[in-house]
């Protein structure tokens, strides 16, 4: 048991697991470059469901994904053991150190625990998150929230770039107003998610698949627009008006707050740590 604990807490193992994760992510980025639309479905599908659907049929292009998760899981254990061992060692020496020095020494361990929180948060998001898209058209009813509430799309207003600019005819912002049966309004616009009954609601634009049957798809360099991550064409309302569809994205992401809080804490603590270390080095140089 002690041997296993030591092996798991080895820094050499941490290094090679990070290199392994780098290689897996880099490989994944190359595959995603070949088939953007295939991998983009994973963004809005729980990981286990997506893997179950593709592991046999598409193993040749997704093999790196289980490998990545193995590396990240092992890295999680490694971080936990390493950081815990270090923390215990430091706590034993606590009385011999000045308060500030102790906290500076403790900081890398705390940062590692926070990184663990981020990995866990992402894992929760990937497995328990849900994303649902609903097309938005004026007058139509949409159902949102955990206990679905019927809401009517009251209005959709487009705000375009100024006519005198080179971006004229392109959408700068959109305002959508949803109303419930009591007439209460729920305004939505891009980049401003709204929380509704535990669900985050936000706007997104997608190519209109139904219209695409009648018309040839928009292309860049002979490739369908869906093959690209940049959707500038979709927001250019003239003249391809029929090819885009405004959608409501309803998100339940139980890992989100873990990720964001840990990210913020890591940033503050890491900056403070490196500034403290740099200041201590500079002080040591002067004496």
């Amino acid at each position: 048991m002690i041997t296993l604990w030591r092996a798991l807490g080895s820094l050499k193992l941490a290094f090679w697991l990070l290199i392994g994760a780098t290689a897996s992510l880099f490989t994944g980025s190359l595959y995603a470059n070949q088939d953007y639309s295939f991998f983009s479905t994973l963004n809005e599908t729980p990981l286990h469901i997506w893997l179950a659907a593709h592991i046999k049929s598409d193993f040749d292009i997704i093999w790196w994904l289980p490998v990545l998760f193995i590396f990240m899981t092992l890295l999680g254990f490694n971080i936990f053991v390493c950081a815990l061992n270090r923390m215990i060692r430091l706590l034993k020496k606590r009385k011999k150190m000045a308060g500030n020095r102790f906290f500076v020494k403790l900081m890398p361990s705390i940062i590692h625990f926070l990184f663990l929180v981020i990995i866990t948060g992402h894992f929760i998001t990937f497995t328990l998150g849900s994303w649902q898209r609903t097309p938005l058209n004026i007058g139509e009813t949409v159902y949102i929230g955990e206990k679905p509430v019927a809401m009517t799309v009251q209005s959709i207003k487009h705000q375009y770039f100024p006519e005198h600019s080179g971006l004229r005819g392109r959408v700068e912002q959109m305002q959508v107003v949803l109303t419930d049966e009591r007439g209460r309004e729920l305004p939505l616009s891009f980049l401003k998610p709204v929380s509704f009954d535990g669900t985050m609601l936000q706007l997104d634009m997608r190519p209109n698949k139904q219209k695409a049957v009648d018309q040839p798809p928009l292309q860049i360099d002979g490739k369908d627009i869906n093959e690209y991550c940049n959707k500038a064409h979709i927001y250019h309302v003239q003249p391809q008006k029929a090819d885009k569809q405004l959608t409501l994205l309803s998100i339940n992401d139980p890992g989100l707050y873990l990720i964001l809080w840990a990210f913020t804490a890591i940033l503050i603590l890491m900056t403070w740590y490196f500034v403290s270390v740099a200041a201590a080095r500079s002080k040591a140089k002067h004496f």
Binding site: L11, K12, A14, F15, L18, I19, A21, T22, A23, L25, F26, G28, S29, A32, N33, Y36, F39, S40, N43, E44, H122, T125, W131, F161, P162, H164, S165, G166, L167, R170, V171, E172, Q173, F190, L191, P193, Q202, L203, D204, M205, I220, D221, C229, N230, A232, I234, Y235, H236, L249, I251, L256, I259, L260, F263, T264, I266, L267, M270, T271, F274
Partner: protein, 249 residues
């Protein structure tokens, strides 16, 4: 703005970087330093001018990576020059000139921004990301210039550590922007995975000092390999974006 669409301003800035480099290697360090400052001022004016390329002010073209990168490397050289005028800051001028020559031939127009790219999170993501890349490149350059760790005065390690701090900031701001714009903090796309790969690579680097087998020479080779990987990932992305339709050049 007066510098909007005036590409000659960019060329003057690049010329000043090149002249600064020549003076530095001719051992006229003081002159080189002041020419670098002039070059950065001119280049900054060009970058600001890019904000109006679309006929309406946008921050996006200012922080577009191929154009921001030379400025970031130049700023790192400047800061190192301020800290130690007689030091080896001029080595970084090689990086500044190389990156700015790439910018010189790059498409000058802007990719029309979609509504989810019109946010303050754009500079909050791109500035630390490009600064992180710049510091990784500078670290690699210093690692090579130090004869792979032989010259102990050339500290590539600190550059990489600060690169890691900036890059980590960009991972956080990028995650927030991604969530607000697309509904995920991480997306399974080339961009995000390559970005995460760079982060884990340099996370591995900062653990090297705990591995007794890794000497300063080993670290220098790692710094060079890391710089080359960032170069491949970054520049393949810039070249890919050349295929998108642009406005204003």
């Amino acid at each position: 703005m007066i510098t909007t669409g005036r590409h000659e301003i960019l060329y003057i800035g690049i010329l000043l970087f090149a002249v600064s480099m020549v003076f530095y290697f001719c051992r006229a360090r003081k002159t080189a330093f002041y020419i670098l400052i002039s070059g950065l001022l001119v280049y900054t004016l060009y970058l600001l001018g890019r904000g109006w390329v679309g006929g309406v002010f946008l921050i996006n073209p200012i922080v577009e990576a191929p154009f921001l990168l030379p400025w970031c490397i130049g700023m790192i050289a400047l800061v190192k020059g301020i800290l130690n005028r007689e030091g080896d800051w001029g080595i970084l001028l090689i990086g500044t000139v190389m990156a700015s020559v790439f910018a010189m031939f790059y498409a000058k127009g802007i990719i029309p921004p979609t509504p989810n790219k019109l946010t303050v999170w754009v500079p909050l993501f791109f500035v630390p990301e490009v600064m992180g890349h710049a510091l990784f490149f500078c670290g690699a350059l210093y690692a090579v210039a130090s004869g792979f760790g032989k010259n102990k005065d050339m500290d590539f390690h600190n550059l990489i550590i600060w690169g890691f701090v900036f890059y980590s900031i960009s991972q956080v701001t990028g995650a927030v922007w991604c969530y607000l714009g697309w509904g995920n903090t991480f997306r399974w796309s080339t961009r995000h995975m390559a970005s995460a790969a760079i982060w884990t690579l340099y996370a591995a680097y900062i653990h090297l000092r705990f591995l007794p087998g890794f000497t300063r020479r080993g670290k220098a080779w790692f710094a060079l390999a890391g710089g080359l990987i960032v170069l491949y990932i970054g520049f393949s992305g810039y070249l890919h974006e050349l295929r998108f339709p642009r406005i204003g050049g």
